[in-house]
Symmetry: C2
């Protein structure tokens, strides 16, 4: 399987997480972390349910993966997320030493991996990630639009 196919497959699984979030009234964002082609964690946004502003899909996935691997350094891992990470999540990605980030839709309002800034490629910080974007972006954006339309109606 080529890299593109692999990325789309993992992003499909992250989208499944995003759909779980949607069903319980959370902003539909999903994430998962893989290492050597094994899924070590997956999560979706839970800020409302957990009453925790830090409970974004990416942060939960990072915390679960660290627990699973027994190390705060997620060396050799890739994080897939359906939406461009915010400042908190981009900062957590740098701190965790994750090797690669793959995301779906861009977030022009608060995205910090190309939209407003690019915190995960900042030469001044002590770690940088390889980034691939746009994987299943339309599916992710459609899901988010539908969620916010429902909330307004």
């Amino acid at each position: 399987m080529d890299d593109c196919g692999t990325d789309a497959n993992y992003m499909e699984r992250a989208l499944t997480q995003a759909k779980c979030a949607y069903r319980i009234g959370e902003v539909p964002v999903g994430a998962l972390i893989i290492k050597e082609n094994i899924v070590v964690s997956e999560a979706h946004n839970l800020t409302g349910s957990m009453k925790d502003p830090t409970a974004h899909a990416e942060v939960i996935a990072i915390r679960k993966a660290s627990e699973m691997l027994g190390d705060w350094r997620l060396i050799g891992c890739t994080l897939y997320t359906t939406l461009e990470p915010c400042a908190m999540c981009a900062g957590a990605l740098v701190l965790s030493r994750i090797e690669r980030l793959v995301f779906g839709a861009t977030d022009p309002k608060s995205g910090m991996v190309g939209s407003l800034e690019n915190l995960v490629c900042d030469e001044r910080l002590n770690h940088r990630l390889e980034v691939t974007s746009g994987i299943l972006a339309d599916e992710s954006a459609t899901l988010l639009r539908s969620y916010f339309k429902d909330r307004r109606s």
Copy 2:
């Protein structure tokens, strides 16, 4: 008591947290959150002990305060931290809607509240914080220098 006195008193308590971190081999950073002059949470860095790259003092304090107050929006709260927040913590401060940030020492290498960027005063994001810096900065910087000197020896 004037504001300056109050800030120094709360920062003294955050420094006590930082010293707890030092004693267990963690980077000595401490934080606390107050609302209407009541301490709602306090924490210190626990990344090593918890094997969790997101376990910075500020993030733990935010999570605890949200749990204590039963709301992910920390309206009317002030967070005190002994060190200028990193990207993850600055992002978490914005997401949590905390009103005011008071910090001690600056962090030229990864500080995102004036050193490299200022993410908590970014007009493009949907929340901004009032910031006071330099409170007991020397005490905080001395503690951090001592910790890193110990680690190198």
